[in-house]
Symmetry: D2
Subunit: 136 residues, 4 copies
Amino acid sequence: MTANEIVHRMYQNDAFSQWLGIKIEKVEIGAVELSMRIRSDMTNGFGIAHGGITFSLADSALAFAANSQGRHAVSVETSISHFKPLQLNDLVRATSVERHLGKRTAVYEIQMHRNEIELVALFRGTVYRTDKLWEK
Amino acid sequence: MTANEIVHRMYQNDAFSQWLGIKIEKVEIGAVELSMRIRSDMTNGFGIAHGGITFSLADSALAFAANSQGRHAVSVETSISHFKPLQLNDLVRATSVERHLGKRTAVYEIQMHRNEIELVALFRGTVYRTDKLWEK
Amino acid sequence: MTANEIVHRMYQNDAFSQWLGIKIEKVEIGAVELSMRIRSDMTNGFGIAHGGITFSLADSALAFAANSQGRHAVSVETSISHFKPLQLNDLVRATSVERHLGKRTAVYEIQMHRNEIELVALFRGTVYRTDKLWEK
Amino acid sequence: MTANEIVHRMYQNDAFSQWLGIKIEKVEIGAVELSMRIRSDMTNGFGIAHGGITFSLADSALAFAANSQGRHAVSVETSISHFKPLQLNDLVRATSVERHLGKRTAVYEIQMHRNEIELVALFRGTVYRTDKLWEK
């Protein structure tokens, strides 16, 4: 399967990414760009996006980017720094960068921008790469 | 406001924690215990709970535990290690431990157990403590 | 090789752990306890222990604990929260807890105490477990 | 004090950074570039640089970059991913990027390259910014 087919297949089965309203903007081998808009049911007690919302967007980007390399990959350790709170209706864009692609592990960084200009959060994720291939 | 009042007030305004079906099991000053059940709309393309779901539960526990100390606190950096995938209908319990309470920053660790026995994920979060008090 | 033999063999070849003056206090399968005293050549521009010193102690504890399971293990991702600055002559004790032991990855938490009572830093590390055994 | 004066003052008092043989290659407001060569007393039981060595270089870069903004800053949470082992005599270069500069917290990313081309480790650090100014 191509990187594009893998990511779209993953998305079709990913109920939570669909609930989040994630849109797949771009797919390359080892890289994706996703976007999402903050809805009222994504906010927390402070009236801003719950920290889990930005994390979830980044975690989907990690899974899509890592698996787009053609082998099943599972997340082992992830971290996120939140810089700015996201407000209702903000558009968030997550862009992945493959920092390391090893035989068994790989590391991706996901930058999240508000309205395409302001860096609101930074995420790093390590995955374990299994031997299982993505096949039709 | 008491720790209990703060946490329940936060929860009442927290649309996403409500969507997650989070239950507040216990509140003490600086500590909470939350639980949640994995629903089908929380799963990802592998048929297990999306990584963002466990993170969100832990992030709510972090916010509740940190704010229960009486001052508004905001998350600055969080990380999570996933050990075991959660399946549909699994019951997850998040228990917080206050590792450090400083004047300006505090650190909490959240352990997540499946069915009360198996450690499935470990989360650490650092918050910045503002001067703003929780008041009625 | 036993856990104890592996850890002592590693230490004998570990020039930097020796420079740090690390003492091996206890070894069990998957767990170690190390101690170290802060010297003046370990301090930074603020007159306290450089952050890299506590990290290095914890990183040695991670390597020893993970390898004591009998297979060569390499660190993939580590993080540390510093709570209290360490002063000259402080005695630090690092105690490891095995949080997860999987086929391919394992996660250890290292707690660092000053003078055996005060938690000064918290470390979490993920290792990749190779197939290579520790053999005489 | 200028950024350059702050960083050099810090380095002059930083016994451990001096032991590491760190060289200050470049200083700008909020950014530094450091270099270092792996010596035999920096290696571990596997004959490669101890993980604490690369961390320490990055941690010095974090401290220098954050303090170069003119206010005393202290590290609160740091994480590092190691991609490639460093060998004896390897030259490592650490370059900082200021990802967020808030009133109270700031986040820096440090990239470490071997021989100027190969990314060997990635570090992220959060600091707390005190009110204390760097003054002559």
